[in-house]
Symmetry: C2
Subunit: 287 residues, 2 copies
């Protein structure tokens, strides 16, 4: 394929993902707010673009994974953004976890420019990005999905088309809601164990493999017990995701008391200075 591929956002996730595209022999242009973060890719042969607009003008397919919905909005819908400058027929793929309603707006703005835009947020963290085993949840037209699929397969494994524009983001919200509520349970179970004078490691031996089993219990409870609060996934990003989920639920008139509780607890943790910790730091509230 001689398509020009663009990649915007070369943070921890994006750098690995773009690296896989390079590795697969794709012709890659990159833009990142902080050029230094793109240097390893540039030294491996990627071209530098000075702005989203410059990148859009030369690329057939553009991937983005940036920070917050406001960054997505600027990169896509700003005056020097992707949509205003996209090639006719180009495909834009936002892999940021962002607002479903923004994804819908971007998709229709791209359609007006005779292009395509899909939302394709991921889960699997830095490890999944590094090992190209990300789960990718896609919202958008079927044709655009089919077109993106061979490229997404270079970055991930479990790639599911969830429905029209915004559906990828909605699916990611389901993921975050399930995690959020479960994290409360993991923290409360471990706090209860300590208070009751049990050895929490021993408790994990009893409860880790039955009906209470979960990824968080297996992977994050042991870090809690060690006092290892290094970020696999940042509290501040989790709060962003949960805020989006809570707003979307509100718009759909869905009560989510569990999500609301998790969001309140994580905001309390952030207010106590925990926003740059990993999500397992929630257990500090129970100490």
């Amino acid at each position: 394929m001689d398509e020009n591929i663009g990649f915007i956002g070369t943070g921890v996730m994006g750098a690995s993902m773009a690296g896989h595209l390079l590795q697969a022999g794709k012709k890659l242009s990159v833009f990142s707010r902080t050029r230094a973060k793109a240097e390893p890719l540039l030294s491996r042969g990627a071209a530098w673009a000075d702005s989203p607009a410059a990148l859009a003008k030369t690329c057939d397919v553009v991937f983005t994974i940036v920070g917050f919905p406001k960054d997505v909005e600027e990169v896509y819908l700003g005056a020097s953004g992707l949509v205003a400058n996209m090639r006719p027929g180009a495909l834009l793929v936002d892999m940021t976890t962002s607002r479903p309603d923004l994804a819908v707006r971007i998709a229709s703005a791209a359609a007006e420019r005779e292009g395509q835009a899909i939302d394709a947020p991921v889960s699997g963290g830095d490890k999944g990005a590094r090992e190209a085993t990300l789960t990718i949840m896609v919202g958008g037209g079927r044709e655009a999905f089919d077109r993106a699929l061979p490229l997404l397969q270079i970055m991930g494994k479990n790639i599911v088309h969830q429905g029209p524009a915004g559906s990828g983001q909605h699916c990611k919200m389901c993921n975050q809601i399930a995690i959020a509520c479960n994290m409360i349970g993991v923290c409360e179970a471990m706090a209860y164990a300590r208070k009751a004078g049990l050895d929490p490691e021993n408790v994990l031996k009893s409860i880790g493999a039955g009906a209470a089993a979960s990824w968080s219990l297996s992977h994050l409870a042991p870090r809690m017990l060690k006092g290892d609060f290094a970020p696999g996934f940042y509290v501040k990003h989790f709060i962003k995701d949960m805020s989006i989920a809570a707003e979307s639920a509100d718009q759909m008139a869905l009560d989510t008391p569990g999500l609301d509780l998790a969001l309140a607890l994580y905001r309390k943790l952030a207010a106590q200075g925990g926003e740059d910790s990993g999500t397992q730091a929630l257990c500090k509230l129970y100490a």
Copy 2:
């Protein structure tokens, strides 16, 4: 071994568990509030005892798995109960999920009679009981644990000594707390998926194997989606367990907002007539 083994409580769980002891060639006496439930065991060679007292007088080791803490209290500490009538040196093993503080009282009452009592609640449900794969969480003296172990191994697999009397119950509470909070997340994720117009089965394909993965998401969400609310584990029993956990947490001055929310939601479900449903029926509150 020529020990006489007693078994009290031949409901769904107890009938399977006692059956494994018989199968292993143990000399077994049984008592159950409803004699009819013990008949299959009697026809396989178990002896019938007319009361806990009658059983205690002839047995060296007695297992119990009854309904609620008040049943445990009556069976153990009532005038015609196990402790008042136990043989010197006998071992009593309560496998009911019950109050940790009651387990402590029973253990010290048994010690006063020169016997031993341990708490050994289980998880794994009717399937675990049938297949002898139960997780068994044990609280009590080490010597009593070692004495019970070969018999417990006939009924279960993952058998861990969690500490002194009451510790088995406390560990079971940790298990139930983790499940309770997670169930909220599973329900809210599935409700969100539906409201957002996604296909929830498809959402499970995306979120079922990553950081949101849990036993409940894999095993109970599919039942929710099918509208299958048959009890694997009864709402009314889960409410009992969560109530004990909440009271224990209260006694230890531990705040558990997630558990409290789950308990409130399940009580609401029970008030709407759901107490004989399986715990997955919680999703009805989000319909």
